[in-house]
Symmetry: C3
Subunit: 348 residues, 3 copies
C-alpha cells in the first residue's frame, strides 16, 4: 500500500513540514528506507534523527528542526505513530469461514461471520458472538460465552463456563478458567478444594501468550474493561482486576486480590493474596507487594516502597557492605575515644 | 442440585445452629444469595458475616455468634467448605468415549473407560490407564505411561517416555519431558547435551497450566506423591521434588536440586541448582535460594533468610537511605569531636 | 545399543584406565548400574565416585584415582559426557512423512523429507525447509519461513511472517510472533499500537517450552545464531539478542533492549527496556537490570551490581536489622558523650 505524506497528515490532523512524498511503510529511525516513515517518541533515540533515511518522521515540534527529511508535527508522536501504523497493519490469518475440520458441538451457537479454523474445538452450549475468529487448536469448553469480535489465537484454552465480553483477544497458548490452586492439608493428606467458580472478562480485554487466569473457588475471577495483560502473567483465583489496567509480562497476582482502575504492574512484579491495590497505582518491575497500596501511589521494591523512597534506597543499596565496614569502624573509634576519655578522667 | 442444611451438616459431621433451609450452591460471603451457603476461613473477612445474605455459613465456634443466618460449626471451615463444595463441583468436559477424530497409534494401549477427545494424539506404545480423560490437543508421546484416572487437559504435552502415576492432572498447556537445558560452550561453539533421561510423576500429582517439567539429562526428574504444582512453574532437569509439596505459581527450580516432603515454595521463588531443601521447609514469595535449607525452616528473601531475620530486615530495608544519611552524620560528628578534643589536648 | 569402553574411548579420543567392558547406557553416579557409565563434572558429587556401580566414569585426571571402576580421562568431562550421550540419544517422535490429517495450505511449500504430524497447521505461502519436523498441534502462520532441519514440537505456535534459520528447535508450547505489548493511553482510552514487525531467529536457535518471543512494532525482534532460550522466557518486542547467548528459565527482557554475544542471563532475571547489554555479560539469577551493562561484566542483584559488590552485599544484607540497631546505639552513645563533654566543659 502507498500513501502520500500529505494524505496521512490530513487523515491524522498533523502539520507536514517539508516536501510531500509517497511512502509505503513504517520503520524505526535506524532501519527506515527512503520509502518509509518513522517516529520519535523516546528522546533516547534523538541522535538517530539526523542520519535516518526515513522520508518523514512523526515528531514533536521541539525536535522537528533535527529531522533530515520531512516532519509530521505531533503533540503525541507515539499515539500518532500508532494511528499511522493502523493503515499498514493486517490481521493474522486468512481463513474466512467455519472449516469442516473443526469440531463444533451441535448445541453450540455461532454468531454471524464467525471463522473457525481446523482443529479448533467448541464444546456443548458454548455461545460465540458475531465476527469471532477461532484459530487452530483453540479450545472453548462447554457453556462458555464469547462476545462479538473476539479473537482466540492458536492453542488458547477457555475452560468450561468462562465468559468473555466483546473485542477480547486471547493470544496463543493463553489459558482461562483452569482450576485455581486450592488445596488444604488435612491429617497428613492433601485435599483439593473444588473450584466451582468461573472467569469473566469484560469488553476489550487482551490476554497475552501463555498467560493464565484461574477460575475462582466461588463466584468469578474478573478482569475489567480494556485491561491489557502481557505474556506469561498469572492471575490467581478470585482476583478482580479493574479497568484500563496494564499487567506487564510475568506478573503474578495471588488469590483474592483486588485492584482498582488504571493500575500498571510492571514486569515480574508479584502481588500477594487478599490485598487491595487502589486506582492509578503503578508498581515497578520485580516489586513484591505484601500490603494494600493506596490509590495514586507509584513505587517499587520488595518490600514495596513509595517511589522516592525506593529510588533513594536503590542508590544506597550497592553501598551496603561499605556501610557495614564504616559502621564497624565508627564503633571501634567511639569505643577508643570513650576509653581514652575515661583514662583521662581517671588520670586527671 | 438442592440440599438441606441439616443433610449437609449430617454428611460433614457438623453442628447446625439456626433454622434448617434448602440451598442450591456456595458463594463468597459478599456475593452469596439466600439460596447459597458460604464460609469464613480468613478472619480478614469477618466484617462480612453480619451483612452476608448466605442462608448459612461454615464457621468456627468463635465467630458463629456473628453469623446473620444459620451457622455450620467447624473446627476447620476451609476444609469443610471444600467438602461441601465437592457436592456441587462438576468435572470439565462431557465427552464419554474415544472420539474417532483423535489419533491413537495402533500400538498404544488404552485401559477401560478411557475418554479421548478429538485432536488428541497418543503415540506408539503409550499406555493409558483406566478412566483417563485426554482432552483436545493433548499430546502423549511414544512409550509414555499414565496410571488410572489421570486427566490431561487441552493442549498439555507429554513427551516420549514420561511416566505418570494414577490420579494425576495436567492442566492446559502443561509440558512434561521437554529437553532439559543442557549446553556446553566448547571452543566458541555451543554444544547440546543430549537429554536421555525422563520425567516420573508419582500418584496424585497436579501440574498447573503452562508449567514445565524438563526431562533429565540422565535418570529421571521426579515429582513425589500428592505434590501440587501451580501455573507457570519451571522444574529443571534432574530435579527431585518430595511428597505433599506445594509449588506456587511462577516458582523456578534449577537443575538437580532435591526437596524433601511437605515443602512449600511460594509464588515466584527461585531455587538454584544442586541444592537440598529439607522436609517441611517453607520458602516465601520471590525468595532467592542459593544454599541448602535445613528441614523445618521457614524464611524468605534474596538471599534466603530464616523467617524472623527476614521479617526484621524487611522492616528496616525501607530505612536504608535514611540509615546512610545518619551514618554519614555520625562520621562527621565523631570526626568533629575528635578534632575538638585533640585541639583541647593541644591547647591545654 | 551396546558399546565397549575402548571403542568409546577411541571415538572420543580419551584414555581408558582400567579394564575394558561392554556397556549399554549412561546414568548418574548414584543411579548407574554395572552396565552403565557415568561422569563427574561438578566436584560437589566427588564423594559418589567410590560407591558408584558404574563400570566406568568420564573424569578428569585429578579425580581418576578415586574411581571405583574404569576411568575415561577427559580435560572436560561434561563435554565428553555430552559426546558419549549422543550415541544413546534418540529423537522425539516416529512419524516419517506428511500425515494426511495435517492441514497444509495449497500455497505452502515443503522441502524434502519434511515430516508433518496430524493436527499440525501450515498456512498460506509458508516455506518449510528440508528435513523439518512439525509435531501435532503446531501452528505455522502465513508467510512464515523455516530453514532446513527445524523441529517444531507439539503445540508450538509461529505467527504470520516469522522467519527461522536452519537447525532451530521450538519446544512444546513456545510462541513466536504474538503481538508485542504496545498500548498508549489516550484521553482515558487504551489504544493498541499495531505490531507490524516480525520475529527473526538466526540458525541454531532453541526456544524453550512455553517461552514467548513477541513480534516487533516495526522491523524485527531478532535472536542471534546458536542462542539457546530455556522455558517460560519472555522476549519483548524489538529486542535483539546476540549470538551464543544462554537465556535461562523465566528470564524476561523488555522491549527494544539489545544484547551482545555470549551473554548469559540466569533464571528469573529481568532486563528493563531500551538497554544495551555488552558482549560476554553474565547476569545472576533474579537480577533486576535497569541500566546498560558494559561488555565483560558479571554481576547480579536488584539493582544490578558488579559481582564482587553483589557478593559482599549479599553477605551483609541479612545483618541489616542488626546494623540498624547498632546505628541507633552509636547515635545514643555519641549523644551521651557529647553531653558529658559539654557538661565537663561547662563545669570546668
Amino acid at each position: 500500500m502507498e500513501l502520500t505524506l500529505s494524505a496521512l497528515a490530513s487523515q491524522l490532523g498533523l502539520a507536514l513540514q517539508g516536501s510531500d512524498r509517497i511512502f509505503s511503510g513504517l520503520n524505526t529511525l535506524e532501519a527506515a528506507t527512503e520509502s518509509e516513515i518513522s517516529f520519535l517518541s523516546n528522546p533516547k533515540y534523538v541522535q538517530h534523527l539526523a542520519s535516518s533515511k526515513a522520508c518523514a518522521v512523526i515528531v514533536s515540534q521541539e525536535f522537528a528542526p533535527q529531522v533530515a527529511g520531512s516532519a509530521l508535527i505531533s503533540d503525541n508522536p507515539y499515539r500518532d505513530f500508532a494511528r499511522a501504523a493502523a493503515f499498514f497493519a493486517h490481521k493474522h490469518g486468512e481463513e474466512t469461514a467455519v472449516n469442516p475440520l473443526s469440531v463444533i458441538h451441535p448445541t453450540a451457537q455461532l454468531g454471524k461471520n464467525v471463522v473457525v479454523y481446523p482443529h479448533a474445538f467448541i464444546g456443548p452450549r458454548a455461545c460465540v458472538g458475531n465476527n469471532c475468529i477461532i484459530f487452530p487448536g483453540a479450545y472453548i469448553g462447554e457453556d462458555c460465552s464469547l462476545g462479538d469480535n473476539c479473537i482466540i489465537y492458536p492453542n488458547a484454552v477457555i475452560m468450561a463456563g468462562v465468559t468473555l465480553g466483546k473485542d477480547c483477544i486471547l493470544h496463543p497458548g493463553a489459558v482461562l478458567g483452569a482450576d485455581g490452586f486450592g488445596f488444604v492439608r488435612v491429617a497428613g493428606q492433601v485435599q483439593k478444594i473444588p473450584q466451582i467458580g468461573t472467569v469473566v472478562l469484560a469488553d476489550g480485554v487482551d490476554v497475552g501468550a501463555n498467560s493464565c487466569i484461574d477460575r475462582s473457588t466461588l463466584g468469578a475471577t474478573r478482569i475489567g474493561k480494556d485491561t491489557k495483560i502481557d505474556n506469561l502473567v498469572q492471575i490467581g483465583h478470585n482476583v478482580e482486576v479493574g479497568e484500563h489496567c496494564f499487567l506487564i509480562s510475568q506478573v503474578g497476582i495471588a488469590g483474592s486480590t483486588k485492584t482498582g482502575n488504571r493500575v500498571t504492574l510492571a514486569g515480574q512484579a508479584g502481588i500477594a493474596g487478599h490485598l487491595h491495590i487502589g486506582d492509578d497505582v503503578t508498581v515497578g518491575p520485580q516489586a513484591g507487594v505484601a500490603k494494600d497500596i493506596p490509590a495514586g501511589t507509584s513505587g517499587s521494591g520488595s518490600p514495596f516502597m513509595e517511589g522516592r523512597t525506593f529510588m533513594r534506597n536503590a542508590v544506597v543499596l550497592p553501598k551496603l557492605a561499605d556501610m557495614y565496614r564504616r559502621l564497624q569502624l565508627l564503633e571501634k573509634e567511639l569505643a577508643s575515644l570513650k576509653t581514652a576519655l575515661s583514662n583521662n578522667v581517671e588520670t586527671s
